[in-house]
Symmetry: C2
Subunit: 337 residues, 2 copies
């Protein structure tokens, strides 16, 4: 085990000073073509690679972007991670992936370690409970971009998400248009932006049709656990059960569908169902599901582009809110009543 070469070794091998090497490395300042060649040769010969830690320490911060996701077990976030990593790679950025498991405590820890590593930027799906820490990042001039969801108290951060209100309204309207008057919704927790916004869209569609909201049909469910299934079961046990259902909580789609299957609820005969987010596995489900498909590659693209631009201070300070449209895809899980 011999030690890895340092910039000094390269300088020595090339017969120049370290500053010259540093300059060819970073493209800063000019160097004579001849020397540049020697340096390049030396770098190659010694298989030299700059140490990230040294660079970071000297420069103050790294070009690594922290990606703090809720849950890799959810295909939506997993695919998001995949796309973000890809986008970052094409920009020579590095991604440090961490997960919160929707747990504010873990989110706090993750934010701390991300800070320790002096990340140059952050992309995250906040739980909503570590406002001070997120603020601290901004205070330290570390660009933060929220993706998918946001938290109201943090007005100064950039946000990339789908048009939640509109998408939920479209999904709801689709059911109303098919004659359903009793339409239920399982949303995310109401202290999350996706939760409230999608419920808003749902209510908006109801209002348009002059329908009143029935609290028994508007049920938030936590992202973790199986409570979404229970909540739907309760709806179906109502005297006047819904004939249409919008599952607006991505993380609960699976358990809801499983419960429906176990309870022998025929889709769409007994219940018309629209779910949020399409994922490769849903195409195996019978019947094929009518879905709100989130353009994950766009979410990833804009998120990475935003942090990157901010990191290079290429953007005016005003916070950006990028909202991409989600595609509504009618398949066979919804029918006329």
């Amino acid at each position: 085990m011999k030690k890895a070469a340092t910039i000094r070794d390269v300088a020595a091998h090339a017969g120049v000073s370290v500053s010259v090497v540093s300059r060819v490395l970073n493209g800063t300042g000019a160097v004579a073509p001849a020397k540049r060649a020697q340096v390049l040769e030396a770098i190659d010969a010694l298989a030299y690679r700059p140490r990230a830690a040294a660079r970071e320490l000297s420069h103050g911060h790294s070009d690594t972007i922290g990606l703090l996701l809720a849950d890799l077990t959810n295909p939506f976030f997993a695919r998001l991670a995949d796309r973000v990593v890809a986008e970052a790679r094409s920009r020579d950025l590095q991604i440090l992936v961490m997960t919160t498991q929707e747990d504010p405590h873990l989110e706090g820890q993750a934010l701390d370690t991300l800070l320790d590593r002096s990340v140059g930027g952050m992309i995250g799906t906040p739980t909503g409970h570590n406002v001070e820490r997120w603020e601290k990042l901004s205070a330290l001039d570390i660009p933060v971009v929220f993706v998918d969801r946001t938290v109201g108290e943090l007005a100064q951060v950039d946000v990339v998400s789908i048009e939640n209100v509109g998408s939920a309204a479209t999904a709801t309207r689709h059911l109303l248009d098919r004659g359903h008057t009793r339409v239920g919704i399982v949303s995310g927790p109401l202290d999350t932006s996706t939760g409230v916004e999608r419920v808003q869209g749902y209510e908006q569609a109801l209002r348009e049709r002059g329908l009143a909201r029935d609290d028994a049909l508007v049920r938030p469910a936590p992202f973790r656990g199986d409570l979404g299934a229970e909540v739907v079961a309760q709806m179906l046990a109502l005297e006047d059960p819904p004939t249409g259902l919008v599952v607006a909580n991505t993380a609960q789609v699976r358990v809801v569908l499983r419960m429906l299957a176990q309870a022998r609820v025929a889709i769409p005969d007994d219940l018309s169902v629209v779910v949020f987010d399409d994922n490769p596995w849903t195409e195996l489900i019978r019947p094929p599901l009518t879905v709100v498909r989130q353009p994950i590659d766009m979410l990833a693209l804009h998120s990475v582009e935003l942090v990157h631009a901010r990191m290079r201070q290429k953007l005016p300070p005003a916070p950006r809110r990028v909202r991409v449209v989600a595609e509504f895809l009618e398949r066979s899980s919804t029918a006329r009543i």
Copy 2:
């Protein structure tokens, strides 16, 4: 934007030298109880957190573990990532996740950047094509643990995987026991350990029953892309098509099932199917699938424990091969012929 506090600030605030602070921080050396209290107070007051980069630069390497996975889009790897992160967290280790997309070139890049960051250890699913770079890691005394699969040329690294040969044999036997004599297998590429080992298990089961291997029924498929489906279609188009199928390539399970559904192949009436790896979405599929379930939490546990132990040099140098047993789960996708 005010700068974050450094160890010097803490020392000043506490009225001691930096060495004292460093000692209470790392528990190295003794400090007077009184001073320790002052230091702790100062740390708290200034919200001080040691910079990872500085620590790393000084110490030579970090306590970060690189996790280099093939594809987060595959639920198997996504869940593995989730569990590894969890195991690491409980040991105060950090995980840097990267993906190869099964692309040797990307794997090479990822390994380079991981090296740049002087990771203290690595857990990975190798593509099989960057032998020199993996060796370089070992040469630099960076512990490497392969999980799920391994590379023949790299004999000195630890491996954590399931009992591939045995699992494939069990799956195959299950079909043979039910009267199937024409059993096909879709494996991973034959230049991967999982690919060859599972085919070995398949052949072993065949031999036990005195059956000859038919090359037309043993079809490897790449991990990426949809070729697995095509390969199965070809099998079914044979004059003497298989009545049983083992899908031993996790990444191709989804596309194979989709193709089967589209081709209106009734499971298990027309074809009995066993697939490798159970994932939460497969429970929504009809009929419920007979599967080889990989104990992902065990894979994660052992992987993390192994690197961690190696990082602390708590293990004898001889490479460890941990093989955990995979559970065979009979459900309804297999039937007597």
